[in-house]
């Protein structure tokens, strides 16, 4: 059914594809049969060949026939649809839980040991349950290769679960329109064998020693994890929010409570812009698009981000 036709990418592929194929078989039969009959009639009964029409007002038995048969067939279609769907709501108790948060315009995954990533890492052949949360507007988490999708509605608890059946990297999209960078709100699912996954999972420090020798490197890791780059570019190009290139130390024109004023981008300003993003809006940008990161970032984290910003000259 998909170009990446991997039959066993998840435990739901078979149910979904079977219902799809059964229905496709039935509808192709009807489409071809009716179209062929129609074309045959038009050819056979055109006025040159059949100058006088025979007036037929209808037939009760035919009406019954073509009411009953399609009704039975659609019930078959319903049955396959329901059977493929039902297991999607029956989560095993021992599923591995990953908290998944959607916000404009990135996904964030948090594991039970506190590890956080912007890519979804899951163990092969093990039930995984995603506890879904949206922070701002409705998003929808969609993994085509797994045939799975669930809307993520702010203020509501939603979940989805699956058993990955194939090692590899698969696309993960947002399918509920969520604004300017909706089509960029995509990442990957990486399925690893249990042992590889375990060593990746335990290793919460792996990144720290590698990056500590370069100034701002830890800041970049924090920035990536929190999806800041969905809206702020590093190369000066204008996205939803101001670019960070050369930002730190620069003088910006901002609008505060309707008043235009000039400020210097210093530590206090950056901290306030992350905690209370709607206080000062840089001229030319829109209000209300960024949410507060008060619960996600400590002042130490922001300090690292500022170190990183300083490197962007």
């Amino acid at each position: 059914m998909t170009s990446k036709a991997i039959p066993d990418a998840s435990n739901f592929v078979k149910g979904v594809d079977t219902s799809f194929e059964v229905i496709l078989g039935i509808i192709f039969f009807f489409l071809i049969a009716i179209t062929a009959t129609m074309i045959y009639f038009v050819f056979r009964y055109r006025k040159e060949r059949n100058p006088v029409a025979t007036q037929i007002h209808g037939s009760v038995s035919l009406e019954i026939l073509w009411t009953v048969i399609p009704t039975l067939l659609v019930m078959v279609m319903f049955y396959y649809g329901w059977m493929g769907y039902k297991p999607m709501k029956e989560v095993p108790d021992d599923a591995f839980v990953i908290k998944s948060v959607g916000r404009m315009w990135n996904w964030q995954f948090e594991y039970e040991n506190g590890k956080r990533t912007d890519t979804l890492y899951v163990p092969l052949n093990r039930a995984v349950k995603l506890d879904l949360k949206a922070l701002d507007v409705i998003h929808s988490l969609y993994i085509p290769s797994f045939r799975l999708k669930q809307d993520v509605v702010p203020g509501k608890k939603q979940m989805m679960w699956f058993i990955p059946g194939r090692e590899g990297e698969f696309d993960l999209f947002c399918t509920e329109y969520c604004g300017l960078r909706h089509s960029s709100m995509q990442t990957s699912v990486i399925v690893m064998p249990q042992d590889k996954f375990d060593s990746w999972y335990i290793d919460t420090t792996a990144t720290a020693p590698l990056i500590s020798d370069k100034p701002g490197a830890l800041g970049l890791v924090i920035v990536k994890k929190n999806g800041c780059l969905a809206c702020h570019s590093l190369d000066g190009s204008k996205l939803v929010g101001p670019s960070w290139k050369g930002l730190f130390g620069k003088t910006e024109t901002v609008i505060t409570k309707g008043q235009t004023r000039e400020i210097n981008v210093d530590t206090a300003y950056v901290i306030n812009s992350i905690y209370n993003p709607n206080d000062d809006i840089v001229k030319g940008y829109s209000k209300g698009l960024m949410l507060s990161y008060k619960n996600e970032l400590t002042e130490d984290d922001i300090g690292e981000i500022i170190e990183f910003m300083k490197t962007l000259k």
Partner: protein, 536 residues
């Protein structure tokens, strides 16, 4: 009904000079025929704009990344395309244009029941359209929410939402007034002898549609009003930040907007039920079955809205109830298809442009309806929901169904409306180009959805590239076809050959009067004794 044309010395409705001159004799006219044409001209202009927006979007999608516009422009384009096409063209389209023009003619009446209300409906339509479209030109920029205005995004966006929503709210009144007018007209003004079971099928379809318009439109009115109140007064209906529920919005929106699909498609089915017997020279097969299925669609169509929300997290019970009902609503449509095809059996078919439109309608409408079966199945829906598959499905239904029927109706009734005939050769060439382009445009989108391309995507990953190229090429071809079709029609209104009163040998009442019809339609109200499609 009779074949003889009633000779008439009254001026026809196009020539008649009343109290007002020039353009005022149109925009203040209470003649149902002139009002029908007012809607037609307004809609042709809006349709051209919205179709060009669609073309520009397809050109943007011809390659990943930025091609001709930035993401914000793309998002506002698909919003404007959707709002214009749905609220300004497809929902009011067939009833407002052809219902107005032909309903009174087909039931042997001199006008609709409330001609002044009818004119008021057009003015409300223009007012609503102006307000909705004004959002494009001032304020904080064109709306970018999509035509569904989903909460809470519609509260978060900084763009100019209020005019668009207010405009859609006002348009609702036009729809309700028109529906009410038609219901009363059909109940009270049928010609003597025209019992319910002797009424032609287009008026029947208009009747079913009108009830949906009257009963369902207030729900969307209230919903849109709630958005306005929430945005201006911060009352928390839908936005979770204010304690509201975004899913409530979806329910309210689709309780109207799904029946609205039947507002779009029922009159289209009515048009096809007129065209087929006329060119088959044969009474329609299963008249009663078609009438009953029209009413069944109008009724069951109210209870299937939940299938727009299969992935929103509804309970299992709600899911399978909506899934079963969705499958059941397909049955009456299938019955119609079978009856139309059966009408061709042992017919004597005169293959003319309107008939070709009807055949193309049958083909694309079947694809639209049958692909809906895939989406009605819960498990397949989970995969295909909010992908390009859905976009293809509803363009096959709404454009393939209503759009083809609209152009079919235009080619069928054109000689009656303008008293002239279009160039049939160019009309057929236009249709061929359009039909080829249409399928090249939308068929690849089914495939894109199957391989997982989400809808409303400005940018996409490389694996979706191939089918998008084909689809964008199809869009260009389709627009070329439309240009041929519309140019031919516009040109022929003045320069076409003079048409006879009954060029297609139709049997319904509109063909018994002169073309273009005299001001008051019937010099003498006809007495109906026979079935509507009597070719004995």
């Amino acid at each position: 009904m009779t074949d003889t044309v009633i000779q008439n010395h009254e001026p026809n409705y196009l020539e008649y000079q009343g109290r007002y001159k020039g353009i005022f004799s149109w925009i203040f006219s209470t003649d149902h025929k002139r009002i029908g044409l007012l809607y037609l001209y307004s809609m042709l202009v809006l349709f051209s704009v919205a179709a060009i927006l669609g073309l520009l979007m397809k050109i943007e999608l011809i390659a990943p990344g930025k091609t001709i516009m930035d993401a914000q422009t793309y998002n506002s384009f698909f919003t404007l395309h959707g709002i214009t096409m749905i609220f300004l063209i497809v929902v009011p389209g067939l009833p407002a244009v052809f219902g107005n023009f032909f309903l009174p003619l087909m039931i042997g009446a001199k006008d609709v029941a409330f001609p002044k209300l009818n004119l008021l409906s057009w003015w409300i339509y223009i007012l609503g359209a102006t307000i909705a479209l004004s959002a494009q030109f001032f304020g904080d920029g064109p709306p970018d929410t999509g035509w569904t205005f989903y909460a809470p995004y519609s509260f978060r966006t900084g763009t100019n939402m209020l005019p668009a929503v207010t405009g859609a709210f006002i348009l609702g009144f036009s729809s309700i007034a028109t529906g009410l007018n038609f219901i009363v007209t059909i109940h009270r003004m049928r010609a003597p002898g025209m019992t319910w079971m002797k009424m032609p099928l287009f008026p029947w379809a208009i009747y079913g549609t009108s009830w949906i318009q009257v009963l369902a439109t207030p729900i969307v009115g209230i919903t849109l009003l709630m958005i306005v109140l929430e945005r201006t007064l911060q009352i928390g209906f839908f936005d979770p930040a204010l304690g509201g529920d975004p899913i409530l919005y979806q329910h309210l929106f689709w309780i109207y907007s799904h029946p609205a699909v039947y507002i779009m498609i029922l009159p289209a089915m009515g048009v096809i039920s007129e065209i087929i017997p006329t060119f088959a020279r044969k009474t329609i097969f299963g008249y009663k079955a078609i009438v009953v299925s029209t009413l069944a669609i109008a009724f069951v169509g109210y209870f299937v809205w939940g299938h727009h929300m299969f992935t929103s997290g509804m309970s299992g019970t709600a899911l399978y109830t909506f899934s079963i009902l969705t499958f059941l609503v397909a049955i009456p449509s299938a019955i119609k298809i079978f009856n139309w095809v059966a009408t061709l059996h042992k017919a004597s078919i005169d293959i003319q442009t309107p008939f070709l439109w009807a055949l193309c309608f049958l083909f694309v409408f079947m694809i639209g309806g049958l692909s809906g079966m895939v989406l009605g199945a819960l498990s397949a829906n989970v995969h295909l929901h909010d992908t390009a598959f859905v976009v293809a499905h509803f363009h096959f239904i709404v454009f393939g169904g209503t759009g083809y029927a609209f152009f079919g109706a235009l080619h069928y009734w054109y000689p009656k409306m303008f008293g002239r005939m279009y160039d049939k050769g160019w009309a057929n060439i236009g249709l061929a180009v359009f039909f080829t382009g249409f399928n090249t445009l939308y068929l690849p989108m089914f495939y894109l959805g199957m391989i997982g391309m989400p809808r409303r995507y400005y940018d996409y990953v490389e694996e979706f590239h191939g089918p998008n190229i084909v689809s964008s090429f199809g869009a260009m071809l389709m627009i070329s076809g439309l240009v041929i079709i519309i140019t031919n029609l516009v040109r022929s209104a003045r320069k076409g050959e003079i048409a006879e009163a009954d060029p297609w040998k139709g049997k319904t009442l509109e063909w018994t009067i002169a073309s273009p019809p005299p001001l008051e339609n019937f010099a003498e109200i006809p007495v109906v004794t026979k079935q509507p499609y009597d070719y004995e």
